[in-house]
């Protein structure tokens, strides 16, 4: 980023705050993913358990990837709005984790 760009930055630090909000959210997702992995790998390590763990790992990576892309967009001087696709990806991962929990618990 150029120095003139830094001077033109919003004094309210909106992009930075948004970036940190994404960081907090990935942290929350990581905690849930760890709990989900713990739940998935409770038993004997049968193929279905390993499959479940793989699905959780994929969901976690998808979440991190969506957040990473958005964080890179936010580095722009005037960041574009959040794409509905990114919002849906994040929501999809959250709902999928909940659905996984229901499947395992029942």
């Amino acid at each position: 980023m150029s120095t003139s760009g830094a001077a033109a930055r919003d004094a309210g630090l909106q992009p930075e705050r948004t970036r940190l909000a994404w960081r907090r959210t990935t942290l929350a997702c990581s905690v849930v993913a760890v709990l989900a992995l713990r739940q998935a790998l409770r038993g004997s390590g049968s193929p279905s358990e390993v499959g479940g763990a793989a699905v959780i790992a994929l969901l976690w990576v998808a979440f991190l990837w969506a957040a990473h892309r958005r964080i890179r967009e936010l580095a722009a001087e005037r960041p574009p709005g959040l794409a509905p696709r990114a919002a849906l990806a994040v929501v999809g991962c959250t709902v999928a984790l909940a659905a996984f929990a229901v499947a395992v618990i029942l």
């Binding site: 909000a21 907090r24 709005g81 919002a87 029942l106």
Partner: protein, 132 residues
């Protein structure tokens, strides 16, 4: 209900959203995005709570434990879906220069979480556990 279906179409069609009104100040959109993320974290916390109840409260009776767990997971999933819907509606309202949409979801969520907490207290006070 019809309105909700229209909103859901917006989730999947960024162009429909972009066709509405004018692009607001990017800072407003970022504030809306942070609100969305705060709701997602709330949803993740509830889902995590659902996992935690099942994993860390083995002394609860099966029915109580599973019921509480499912309640938290269902509220968490609803919270996530509502987050994206509310984000889209706020974004559209800002583009059109309208007031932000009112919502009764926060009240329902508070009542739901309060209900789970009271249920937990009742369970503990009545001793509906298998441990002791």
């Amino acid at each position: 209900m019809i309105d909700f279906v229209k909103d859901v179409r917006l989730w999947f069609a960024p162009r429909l959203l972009r066709d509405e009104g004018e692009t607001p100040d990017y800072r407003f959109s970022l504030a809306n995005e942070r609100t969305f993320l705060a709701w997602i974290r709330t949803a993740l916390a509830l889902v995590g709570g659902g996992f935690a109840v099942d994993q860390f409260l083995p002394d609860l009776r099966w029915g109580v434990r599973v019921g509480m767990s499912l309640a938290l997971l269902a509220v968490g999933a609803a919270c996530a879906l509502r987050a994206v819907n509310h984000w889209v509606r706020c974004e559209r309202a800002m583009r059109r220069g309208e007031d932000l949409p009112p919502s009764r979801f926060p009240v329902l969520l508070s009542l739901g979480v309060g209900l789970v907490a009271v249920a937990m207290m009742v369970v503990v006070l009545l001793g509906w556990t298998t441990g002791r």
